[in-house]
Subunit: 217 residues, 2 copies
């Protein structure tokens, strides 16, 4: 297909496609004349993956380039490639806790991983993220939340299995990668929204209409 059709099918404007080509995010088409190139299904899939990273993942062009480069490194297993795409879904953070608290929390994360028998290779930045969350909860005096870590881990175990099966059922590598990025990020949001609805339900059952009144504290 020509660039105009690639634009139409992907919903990405021609100037944006040309920008991605210049930046090396999208491989060049096959030249059919000095001024004309042909694009194929692989370009369309890659364009969808780029939009998933940029629009849903909110990655910059430079970050998107890094992710695409890392998932294209030769000789990787599917597991390794999907893992690299997933790292792109971890938000940028500014840890608000001190070094020592973070180290202690990192030890707890290792204990958790061992206790659950999870196979998680190093380095995986989700370890660090979890350690930051644990240390922040502790710094804010919310120790009782930390007692729920295993309840949370129980909840995600079956879920993660279902997520991974869904991705592995997809027909090609780019749509698998798209599933990892979009499914992980929008899956977080789905989980967060559902959790709030389930909170409303649990609170209605626990203290709803007949519950304690809030007059005074």
């Amino acid at each position: 297909m020509r660039i105009a059709e690639l634009s139409e099918q992907s919903g990405v404007s021609v100037p944006t496609i040309k920008y991605y080509l210049r930046e090396g995010l999208l491989p060049q088409g096959r030249l059919t004349s000095p001024n004309q190139a042909q694009y194929d299904e692989a370009h369309l899939r890659r364009l969808k993956l780029i939009r998933a990273l940029v629009d849903v993942g909110e990655l910059s062009i430079a970050e998107t380039k890094d992710v695409l480069a890392s998932i294209e490194a030769p000789g990787q297993s599917l597991h390794e490639t999907l893992g690299k795409a997933q790292v792109a879904t971890i938000p940028q953070r500014m840890p608000q806790v001190d070094e020592e608290a973070l180290k202690e929390a990192a030890r707890e994360v290792e204990e958790l991983i061992a206790r659950r028998g999870w196979q998680v290779k190093r380095p995986n930045p989700a370890r660090q993220w979890l350690a930051e969350v644990i240390a922040t909860l502790r710094a804010l005096g919310q120790e009782d939340c930390l007692a729920l870590v295993d309840t949370y881990a129980d909840a995600v175990e079956g879920l993660a299995e279902a997520d991974v099966q869904m991705v592995y059922r997809r027909p090609d590598r780019d749509s698998m990668l798209e599933g990892v990025v979009v499914g992980t990020i929008l899956g977080d949001a789905m989980l967060a929204a559902l959790r709030r609805l389930a909170h409303a339900n649990a609170s209605a059952k626990a203290g709803g209409s007949g519950g304690p009144s809030m007059q005074g504290s």
Copy 2:
């Protein structure tokens, strides 16, 4: 206690405390002389709640003021008050989907709530959030993710029960509200980090070392 001690115990600077007093976020202390006021434990708890909203919830001062006003409305049940605090934890979003797709997704959310027998009063902005996520997944051609909605709902049900029990065990209203805000927001992050670790484990088991190689696509 005097303002200097309130600052020391809360970790919030004196100028910031004075700012909160001027903005009406923190109730005035009891005047003991024309230039001196005394503060108590209620001020300390309220200050922690304000920091939770501002630092963890990333709310503006105006938004924090609205949340504090809404949770202080008289005659509310504990359930209603906690519900209002929870609304503050729903992120600002820019829906990228059209009106019609959003309406269809909203219908699906109502079906889900009915199917699960959840008691969720209207209006609850988490309904709208979930509808946006569903419509966005569909717009991005990720229908297979939507098949997992009930798996996700199963996962959050027990979790939400445990969250709510933890909050209801707290000794006073402000620390309950703090638990709702901090626990909901950092709980989202904990869930997201754990889900990624569980993904790594599920992918290692599904396609790990012996899995298909990624040469070509």
